[in-house]
Amino acid sequence: MELSLLLSQLFNGIATGMLYVLMAMGLTIIMGTMGVVNFSHGVLFTFGAYFAFTIAAKAGFWAALVAAPFVVGLIGMVLERGLVSRVYGKDPLYGLLLTFGLAMALEEVIRIGWGTTGLPFSPPDFLSGFIDLKIMFYPAFRLAVLGFILLLIAALWFFLERTTTGKIVRAGIQDSVMVGILGVNTKALFTGVFGLGTFLAGLAGVLSAPMSGIMPTMGDNVIMPSFIVIILGGIGSFWGSVTGGLMLGIIVSLCIQFVPAVAELSMYLVMALVLLVRPRGLFGEEGLFE
């Protein structure tokens, strides 16, 4: 087993894992704060990629990277105000059903808007080559994504730990009722959290586009792993999403290398195992949805 091969697969795992982390992060703050299981997260990821395509065609990659996630976040907030907020406080299964229906309808909107075949998307020129890391050659873009998401995680951590708004969000994840009683405008908080969560999904979509191409169904491949990540890491847990995402990314990548047929299966086995043995995951709180 060549070291360079193993290492590059490991890096792939971390890169994929990082995308899972972004998705999981968004899912987990929504689930933790409002108790909604957002099935439409995958479709919003896809929207990120498609918006990036359209924006990049007119204004280049960097404009797309900045603008597309905001557009997705905006759509998220509109969906929240108009639809999702109506199921707050009800049986969490209604949120699941609602977002499932949304995912179904929105995926079709993508097909209407951009067609059913895949679209190409290339990374910016200076990132499109390989970097010589001495032990191996590795695609520059993936390395950049890795670094970018690490910075983003740090920024998110800073936001949640050190800023007032961030602390309110964390408090909301702990106990959204209490936060309301303490005078916080929960309506605005919930919309904001949903917007932030979907922003992250859109961003993940933009970053994913150059690596795996753009397709209407690309969200399907990330939505399930993202759920598995938050179940693995624990709903509402920041470090849970990070750890879970990394772990899952690496597990899947190594499987792809050594036992490719089982790669997807292994993900679901992990989920089933965690749910049966320790449903709150690595860092989650007991009894949140039990």
Binding site: V87, P92, A105
Partner: protein
């Protein structure tokens, strides 16, 4: 009497309607297989609703049993290995056993976790079907089998197969009605209405929930076997959680609390899909939108709009 007079009348009326469908459908520009499909989805959805509307448990994994029996049927009649009269029961038995096992494992989990576990198991089945090329044909699906003869009755022609499925359809209606009328059905409703009070009436809640899971999955299996025979084809999407979602959609739109709700939902699903797809391939959009509207504003579904809120 396990069926009341009203039950017999209504089931009789619906049966009569479906019995003449092969004559009506071509007249309205549709076709007989559409009617067959509605009955098959009806079997799937009505069985599924024992769990969702009857017991209050949401599963997104019932397509696993639907597809399992579908593939099993195909594999069993491939190259004339087994006659159809044996293949169908064996396939349905397979779904039953799989559900009994999986159900026993996951039924102790509640709500969202249970739903996610059902997705996990469903997807496992999906991936096995799409990867195991040598057995299942992988992503291309399983071909090479055809429905032929059942106990001497030739079911190759569309009309004959319609009435063949009609028999199972009628049995399903009668069985589900009888079940929900019985003390078992009433116990399931109690569990749905207040699981703690049910427990404190001395009801072994887990046992009944497991029962509902297995029975509903068995009907999913029956529907899957018939569907594979309708298409003479089995493919991985049959196992996907989106297919499970279709059953949920039918039950919710038609009405979870009404006996015929899931059947109405099945009919609407198939018709909308067929009608809209003559205009556009994007029928998932109006369907998804309608589903969203119902989830938000008409949780009791179409038939719920007509019924008083008086349980089942």
């Amino acid at each position: 009497m396990i069926w009341s007079k009203k039950d017999i009348l209504w089931i009789g009326a619906v049966a009569a309607l479906f019995a003449v469908l092969p004559l009506l459908l071509p007249k309205i520009g549709s076709s007989i297989p559409v009617g067959t499909e509605i009955m098959i989805w009806g079997i799937f959805a009505m069985g599924f609703n024992i769990l969702l509307g009857g017991t209050g448990i949401l599963s997104f994994g019932h397509a696993a049993f639907f597809g399992l029996a579908g593939y099993a049927t195909g594999l069993l009649i491939l190259k004339d290995r087994l006659p159809l009269v044996l293949a169908i029961p064996v396939a349905v038995l397979g779904a039953f056993l799989a559900a009994a096992l999986i159900g026993a494992l996951i039924i102790r989990k509640r709500g969202i976790y249970f739903a996610m576990l059902t997705i996990a198991f469903g997807q496992m089945f999906y991936f096995i079907a799409s990867q195991w090329n040598s057995l299942t044909g992988g992503l291309d699906g399983l071909t090479g089998f055809k429905r032929t003869v059942f106990l001497g009755f030739d079911i190759k022609p569309e009309v004959n197969f319609f009435y063949f499925v009609f028999g199972f359809f009628l049995l399903t209606l009668l069985f589900v009605r009888a079940l929900m009328n019985s003390s078992i059905g009433k116990t399931l409703v109690a569990i749905r209405e207040n699981v703690h009070r049910a427990e404190f009436l001395g009801i072994d809640v887990k046992k009944y929930q497991h029962f509902a899971f297995v029975v509903s999955a068995t009907f999913s299996g029956l529907a899957g076997a018939l569907y594979a025979l309708l298409l003479n084809f089995a493919f991985p999407e049959l196992l996907h959680w989106k297919t499970s979602g279709d059953a949920v959609l039918m039950s919710v739109i038609g009405g979870m609390r009404a006996f015929f709700g899931p059947l109405v939902g099945a009919g609407i699903f198939v018709f909308l899909r067929d009608i809209i797809s003559t205009y556009t391939a994007h029928w998932a959009l109006p369907l998804g939108a309608i589903f969203v509207v119902f989830v938000l504003f008409f949780q009791k579904g179409i038939l719920g709009i007509f019924e008083r809120g008086n349980g089942e």
